[in-house]
């Protein structure tokens, strides 16, 4: 186990604990303190990047449960996020229901849509499933673009800010707290999910679905459950995204975004709780960095082609995905656990 020498468990509660040693608790406290005092000294721009990172972590955690734990590749995650975003927008704007109803409703609707498109996973896998989720992505976006009466179609749709009781969360800082609380809850639940009966069933299905079925794991139940949970979290992320941007357009949820999510969990490390967080941090900061640096480069080298700013980002991500798959297939999470192990064993 990944515990320092001399730490023993004397009961099951200790054995199961996520935070085991005093050092764990101290680190957790420091991290949380840094996180929640962040808005005091971060500027608005940093905060908005942090908010986007939080939302993306929720979505990536969902995809990680589906792809990383259960092994069902989905290239339609942005589509499911879009379902959640529009569901939340419609619930809070057209029906004028409270934010929390919109949040849970968005998750539920996205989860159900995910289950519908996950049904083929009972008979097919690998590439077939990838294609049917691509089909899901296109069908969802097409419906959003054409169901003008409900979604606003190509013109998009404005979304009211989050309203909890009498509180209206307009500023980045106030949304930061909301998003981070949900992120922490989701990550905590995801960590525990991986250790429950369902989580172990997911891993068994990922490793060999036939063997899992022979052992008595109901593929029907657990594959669809994985789709539901994965897309539920996508819906939650979509809801937060809708309120965060304030304006929805199907342009925000392209197939390239879906691929980006797959890239995120690969870079972070499939099938680990910490992986999606690393992946999102790397990708979103990289995006932000490229956005900042490319005008500077363009100013320095005026002969660059005109599409430099638009093109360099996808190129870098494409290369990152390829390099990670070839050289670090277990992602940053593995690197992180190696680092922790060597820290524990230091100076040996």
């Amino acid at each position: 186990m990944s515990l320092p020498t001399g730490i023993r468990s004397y009961n099951y509660a200790q054995d199961m604990a996520v935070f085991r040693t005093r050092a764990h608790w101290v680190w957790l406290g420091v991290l949380l303190a840094l996180l929640f005092t962040g808005p005091l000294y971060w500027g608005g721009e940093l905060l908005s990047v942090a908010n986007l990172i939080g939302i993306t972590i929720i979505a990536a955690t969902g995809l990680n449960i589906l792809t990383g734990y259960c092994g069902q590749l989905s290239i339609g995650h942005a589509g499911f996020i879009a379902v959640g975003a529009y569901a939340a927008a419609i619930i809070t704007k057209r029906f004028e229901l409270p934010f929390l109803v919109g949040l849970i409703g968005a998750g539920g609707v996205a989860g159900l849509v995910g289950v519908v498109f996950g049904i083929p996973s009972l008979r097919v896998k690998g590439f077939y499933l990838a294609i049917s989720t691509i089909a899901a992505q296109f069908i969802i976006i097409w419906v959003i673009n054409h169901w003008t009466g409900i979604t606003g179609g190509f013109n998009g749709m404005s979304v009211p800010p989050v309203q909890i009781g009498r509180l209206t969360l307009v500023t980045q800082a106030s949304q930061f707290y909301l998003i981070m609380i949900i992120v922490i809850t989701v990550v905590f639940l995801a960590k525990n999910l991986s250790r429950t009966r369902a989580g172990r069933a997911f891993v068994a299905i990922r490793d060999n679905d036939l063997a899992a079925q022979v052992m008595g794991i109901s593929l029907f139940r657990y594959k669809l459950l994985a789709f539901f949970i994965g897309c539920f979290l996508a819906g939650i992320a979509g809801s937060l995204f809708a309120h965060w941007t304030g304006f929805l357009n199907a342009e925000n949820f392209t197939m390239m975004d879906s691929i980006l999510y797959v890239g995120i969990i690969i870079i972070g490390g499939l099938g680990t709780t910490i992986g999606p967080i690393f992946g999102v941090l790397v990708i979103r900061w990289l995006q932000w960095f490229i956005m900042k640096i490319s005008p500077v480069i363009e100013a320095l080298f005026p002969n660059l082609p005109a599409g430099f700013t638009a093109g360099i980002g996808p190129m870098v991500f494409g290369i990152a995905i390829i390099l990670f798959l070839i050289f670090m297939p277990r992602g940053l999470a593995h690197r992180w656990s190696l680092l922790r192990a060597s820290y524990r064993l230091w100076p040996f």
């Binding site: 792809t67 092994g71 590749l73 290239i75 498109f117 049904i119 083929p120 008979r123 097919v124 690998g126 590439f127 077939y128 990838a130 294609i131 049917s132 691509i134 089909a135 899901a136 296109f138 069908i139 097409w142 673009n145 054409h146 169901w147 060999n208 036939l210 063997a211 022979v214 390239m256 691929i259 980006l260 797959v262 890239g263 690969i266 499939l270 082609p305 005109a306 599409g307 430099f308 638009a310 093109g311 360099i312 980002g313 996808p314 190129m315 870098v316 991500f317 494409g318 290369i319 990152a320 995905i321 390829i322 798959l325 070839i326 297939p329």
Partner: protein
């Protein structure tokens, strides 16, 4: 009636181009078991490269098109050598996602080198439309169909009689046995990628001579997925049959369903077909139904 035959002819001819692109997919899938999800982006980049050669550099067609084919061969070789070769033996998830990485890279490359989102190729085929019965069809469609058929025939002959073609079929049948016979399997992988890229390039040129170069060409590549799903992943015949079916469904559906549903129903039909096939007959019309063992 004129309308019907109009839709049918355009549908079938465009469908043949889809089939052509899909053949490239099937080739890679059969020989190396890799699903090439970068197909749409490959079609896009080859079309833009054709534009670059014919319009930006200004080569005549007989110089430009062979250069595009050479470029396609090079791209196919590079993709296989740099991304797929190091991953031989890795789980299928890695093999699929690495092509997604390639797709991402190519899309970035295209918007870097050709930031214009729309362009038109110079006319490759004569301009005046042809009357077939009551239908009026522009010549691009017919030429696309003719070129596709020629390539189908050439490929069929290649697989039947050429040494490399026979080796490719053997690899598709049993990789281990072929390797045991002393045939370099990795070389076959790289050849099949090169072939697939050439097919994508030809398909891209034909499609963009019909509809111009737009990001919609990525969608053309994606339609090829619905062709392979409908026809069966591991069947050349399936791709050739399913291509016109998809084209036909797309055009007839687009023509007759639009008044009944939302406009633009045409672009979604191939994806709906994918979902329907997945539910009813996931191995497709001609695909092999695999029985799995633990």
């Amino acid at each position: 009636m004129a309308e019907l035959s109009q839709f049918a002819i355009t549908g079938i001819t465009v469908g043949m181009v889809y089939a052509l692109i899909a053949l490239g997919f099937v080739l890679i899938w059969k020989s190396s078991g890799v699903a090439n999800l970068a197909l749409g982006q490959l079609v896009l980049v080859f079309s833009w490269f054709t534009y670059g050669m014919l319009v930006q550099v200004g080569f005549p067609v007989w110089v430009g098109i062979p250069l595009v084919i050479l470029f396609a061969l090079g791209v196919g070789w590079l993709v296989e050598r740099l991304t797929l070769r190091p991953l031989i033996g890795q789980p299928i998830l890695a093999l699929i996602t690495v092509t997604l990485g390639v797709a991402f890279f190519i899309e970035g490359l295209v918007s870097l080198v050709w930031p214009k989102s729309v362009a038109a190729l110079p006319r490759l085929f004569p301009e005046e439309p042809i009357h077939i019965g009551a239908a009026v069809v522009s010549q691009e469609y017919l030429w696309a169909a003719v070129i596709s058929v020629i390539l189908f025939v050439l490929l069929t002959l290649f697989f039947k009689y050429h040494r490399m073609g026979i080796i490719m079929r053997a690899v598709a049948d049993d990789q281990m046995a072929v390797q045991a016979c002393g045939i370099p399997v990795a070389k076959v992988f790289s050849r099949s990628w090169m072939f697939a890229c050439v097919l994508a390039a030809v398909g891209g040129i034909l499609m963009s001579s019909i509809g111009g170069i737009t990001f919609g060409l990525v969608g053309t590549g994606l339609r090829a997925f619905s062709v392979v799903i409908l026809g069966g992943l591991d069947s050349f015949l399936g791709a050739i049959v399913a291509g016109p079916i998809i084209g036909l469904a797309e055009n007839l559906g687009g023509g007759y369903l639009t008044p009944l549903t939302w406009p633009g129903v045409r672009e979604i039909i191939p994806f709906v077909i994918i979902v329907i096939v997945m539910f009813i007959r996931p191995h497709g019309l001609f695909g092999e139904r695999r029985i799995e063992r633990i």
